[in-house]
Symmetry: C2
Subunit: 661 residues, 2 copies
């Protein structure tokens, strides 16, 4: 075989593993793997720096299949290049319950899957975070330890999603020239030709956002290789627009939407075998071709060895710091620092907004945790996410620790996912809580992947005042609590805020959302600073003077109101407890006994939160009193709003006493 024939057969191995797996599963997307096989072959055999025997090698190139429905492309590559996690049985069990080869690539299912993709555009935006991380880590640790590329295959759909614009304009702005995106331009979407819905000149669009663009025939492997070489020399991120035929090789369905999301069918698959000269049985790759692929998998082994030697030769302290960060461990002095800080707070009792409390906590945290990367979606002064240690990252100085993400909540969240996935850094960033709606697609993936991403969401209720209902979250706490594996914190004061930050940073497999106020709040926790009470999710903040007649559950800014109501109720002869509930999900993780005891059996149970009731029945039962919102907020000064919506201590007292009678 000529070299060209060899590499064609290597691409065909991807095509038929993919088509055969889809056929056997009777479900899946053969079109993309067949169409993008040549791109993937060139990338994995000639360029990608990776070591299937050490798949977590920190300085590997990252590959992201943004068009996640083409998952069989990735699984085929992992099998062919020799990743242990994906053997031929995994390929045969594509899309079966319990297999690693899920319908869409799932992070954590197998090494070599760098991120979970499927929801379109997310992978591209993750890759921006990864490429940025590479530059940041490079600035911190130098070329010897960190010097790699991030490659993406994105489909027409990825580029239609709005998140792609946020991602590419951020990448262009930051001049992430080690980010190389292949656009699998097959011009087919589910409904038919892409031109049914879109006529964007994508290269021109990318160029307008500061990218380099190169157009090639996506089935000309030499042209693809030349394009990658050129891209690697660019001082900008590069789009390689690859004109491909979806379902390449399928005799009657190639180039149509019929091959996008359904098995080819026996006849069409046989026709493709004939057309491409692929004579092997299903799931069989000819030895010669498999050997070539396995050799490709060994290609970077030497480079890996050289890298390890460089690591070994690194100054011990730097090496140890690099390794700590890549493991994701926090510095040894972290806990003690937080405890000391809490002690100070419980003595000083500052009255500040929790967004300010968050800034104060971050000032302490950023001083001892050098791997935090802060940011904001253009609300820095409102989210209070910037501290003395963090300055804006620019193309001229990647060594800083703050990202001006711009007004791009969705792209920001997805980039944060990419930063967390890259390793070595802990991303946190903010917007207003109401705009979590914009970021939700990516926030869900933080939870699904189980990664340490911290969302700072300020202006967390009607307490923001005059900006009105578009800016006032009412359903967002419930909607975020609804996402599995998502810590939604709503701290009540400076101490709780510090505790929530401590938990968020320690939670390596759960993302956190910290909801914070615009308005000032008193310090209510002046004891127990030596224990992280928020880790219980809910705890007794104020005890009743006798057998409790009333228990009031509250979060965040409403804890102060609950305490005021308690004072009045106690005065009126009704022993009353106050339970602070900073995190529903952590509460559910406690023992049944803890939960039962904490909820208790006071005849009157009240929940107070300037948000909707959903979720609160868990604490107060269906016959409990809920003091909160029934609908959208309104524009006006904060005091008037709380009075208008009846979220006051006197409303609590009146309702509780009416029920006690």
């Amino acid at each position: 075989m000529t070299n060209s024939e060899k590499s064609n057969q290597m691409a065909n191995a991807i095509r038929f593993l993919s088509a055969d797996a889809v056929e056997k599963a009777n479900s899946g997307h053969p079109g993309l793997p067949m169409g993008a096989a040549d791109i993937a072959t060139v990338l994995y055999t000639k360029f990608l720096k990776f070591d299937p025997k050490a798949p977590h090698w920190p300085d590997r190139d990252r590959f992201v299949l943004s068009a996640g429905h083409g998952s069989m492309l990735l699984y085929s590559l992992l099998y062919l290049t020799g990743y242990e996690d994906i053997d031929i049985d995994q390929i045969k069990n594509f899309r079966q319950l319990g297999s690693r080869t899920a319908g869409h690539p799932e992070y954590g299912h197998a090494a070599g899957i760098e991120t979970t993709t499927g929801p379109l555009g997310q992978g591209l935006a993750n890759a921006v975070g990864m490429a940025l991380s590479e530059r940041i880590m490079n600035a911190h640790f130098g070329d010897a330890l960190v010097d790699h590329y991030t490659y993406v295959i994105a489909g027409d759909g990825c580029l239609m999603e709005g998140i792609s614009q946020e991602a590419i304009s951020l990448a262009g702005h930051l001049k992430l020239n080690k980010l190389i995106v292949f656009w699998d331009h097959n011009n087919i979407s589910i409904d038919g030709p892409v031109t049914l819905a879109d006529n964007t000149d994508q290269p021109a669009r990318f160029e307008a956002s500061g990218w380099n663009s190169i157009s090639v025939d996506g089935h000309d492997q030499d042209a693809i290789a030349t394009a990658i070489e050129r891209a690697k020399k660019s001082d900008k991120p590069t789009l390689i627009a690859c004109k491909t035929t979806i379902g390449f090789g399928a005799p009657t369905k190639a180039g149509t939407n019929k091959v996008h999301g359904s098995p080819l069918g026996a006849e069409e698959l046989a026709g493709a075998r004939k057309a491409l000269g692929w004579t092997s049985e299903p799931f069989v790759v000819p030895t010669e071709t498999l050997d070539e692929w396995r050799l490709a998998g060994l290609r970077s082994a030497k480079e890996h060895t050289a890298w390890t030697e460089r690591l070994n030769a690194t100054d011990a302290e730097i090496r140890s710091e690099f390794e700590r960060r890549m493991r994701g461990d926090l510095p040894g002095n972290f806990e003690a620092t937080i405890t000391a800080y809490k002690k100070k707070l419980s003595e000083e009792k500052p009255k500040v907004a929790t967004r300010k409390a968050s800034e104060m906590a971050l000032e302490v945290i950023n001083g001892v945790v050098p791997e935090t990367i802060g940011g904001s979606a253009d609300l820095t002064g409102s989210n209070n996410t910037k501290t003395s240690q963090t300055k804006g990252i620019t193309p001229e100085d990647y060594g800083q620790r703050y990202v001006h993400y711009g007004i791009r909540e969705h792209g920001m969240a997805a980039a944060m996912n990419g930063i967390a996935l890259h390793g070595g850094l802990i991303p946190y960033s903010g917007t207003f809580l109401t705009f979590s709606d914009y970021a939700r697609g990516a926030m869900r993936l933080s939870s699904l992947m189980g990664i340490r991403v911290i969302y700072v969401m300020t202006h967390d209720s009607i307490g923001l005042g005059e900006d009105g209902p578009t800016h006032q979250p009412v359903e967002h706490l419930a909607a975020l609590r609804a996402i599995p594996n998502n810590y939604v914190f709503r701290p009540a004061d400076v101490v709780e805020t510090a505790e929530c930050w401590e938990i968020a940073l320690k939670s390596r497999t759960t993302p956190s959302t910290i909801a914070l106020t615009r308005q000032n709040l008193p310090t209510v926790r002046d004891v127990h600073f030596d224990e992280n009470k928020c880790a219980y999710g809910a705890y007794e903040l104020a005890t009743a003077s006798g057998k409790a007649e009333v228990t009031i559950f509250a979060t965040g800014s409403e804890v102060e109101i609950a305490l005021n109501a308690r004072a009045q109720l106690e005065k009126n002869g009704h022993p009353t407890r106050v339970i602070s509930v900073p995190c529903f999900e952590l509460f559910e993780a406690q023992s049944e006994e803890y939960k039962r005891t904490l909820i208790g059996d006071a005849p009157v149970k009240v929940a107070v939160e300037a948000a909707i009731r959903m979720g609160w029945d868990r604490f107060i039962g269906t016959d409990g009193i809920f003091i909160g919102m029934n609908g959208f907020g309104a524009s006006g000064p904060i005091e008037e709003l709380y009075e208008h919506f009846g979220i006051t201590a006197s409303h609590i007292v009146t309702a509780a006493e009416a029920k006690l009678k």
Copy 2:
């Protein structure tokens, strides 16, 4: 005064009304109104077709302030041109509770506010829907009745949001040449210069998406006028990039982020008065200038009269149809048609997926309701939103009724808002339920505005099977139910699906989300076809054979499972009721007695939904049995998934009987 001096003073009237109102409220955004005052003055005095005395005139031009934080610009314009709803007291009460002049423009607060804006990018995307509606209505009713422009002022922030890309690429594709967008390019965002986070060449980006672009000095009123004239001649939508100075006139703060979101302060405001020669007291507009503005408000009165004459001269049937549609009334035969269709279904008892049931209902609806405009975010064959009556809208044929929205869920939802706001049309469109996350920013605004937008969300649970957890909603029903004023329907069969569609179409002030299955379901409603049972939100589908020991609440695909469990429980001697719960929000709207009776007092209450528990305690109490999901789904065949996650009739029976013992 020269004409130029006059028009400068007219712009200054906007500037000082705005700055004075912000100053008095001690809150708000003076920068945009001061910067964009010249653009607005040219538009409202020379181009915009509007009649403040008849603000709902169907053929008025639409104006959308996408950069909603600059709300005082709009309020000033409405006051100055003589809209009754906004008098000087409203201006003085800017941002006060109960005023029409909320922090951000709120649709419904005052005539002339065409849409609610504030969350950035939404207004631009609404405008695409409005401009598309204009073309559709024009195709249906001709130039005599429908022939107007849609104008937008968008800020730097609007253009950074991903939704803007979805909007502009859709508008460019559809060649909506009567859409004219002013980009208030002041290069200032909250964090500082836009270049902190973005260096996009916006005109080039718009051109790449099929737009015409013109760049002007945003303070040169003649240049702005010339640009609009050119834009009106374009065969593409036009971006007019207006270089402006934020806070124009403020002596030390203009051109900086200090003037973006805070009052100027007394000294700076006095300085601006001096700099611009504005000698009036706060809230006073010199008579001559106010007269000029009021004259501008009368500018289109003649055109309005001519239009009314054309309407009167229109064929009676066409006129009546036009007026019916603009009122938003459904055709007279709508209810009878649905009832007849339900009767047929209850006899034929088809077993189909509810997404198919939705298509069947739509086939009937679209036959009698000519104003529905269907669509899908590139999942037409999966969402089943296309019927025999609807063909794709193209730039060559706007008279059709189906929009290929492309893979743009957020832009689609916002465009649907625009279509509903325009009037004359009822938008419905679909995606997978899990991707409601992408659309949520706009879906919330459907609810906040209270408009008739219908979201068809298919593949509504793990029942979609192999696509896996990225595509399987588990928290989305709860998260959508959390939004106030949002009907979330989950019908159980063909009959309920038809009923939910009927309610959705009749609900003029509440948007609807209809969650639909991929898998087939039997017809479970074979009686009561003559009443819309879904309108109760929850109703008894199967009665217990004696005093109920068990009540099972279920929705959608889990109703079949509940009925199977009931059969087994009854067989085992446990009288069991089944309650179908197609819509939580409608249930809550029923009388207390209905709700109490329906929930009943069976000793065992079970809720079954292939989703999380949140919200279900309302029905089953905190000690009820919930059969559903505790976390994310998995990739695999549907039957295995239901078994794996324990959502089966036998799990219900076992759990119920364990509790009965």
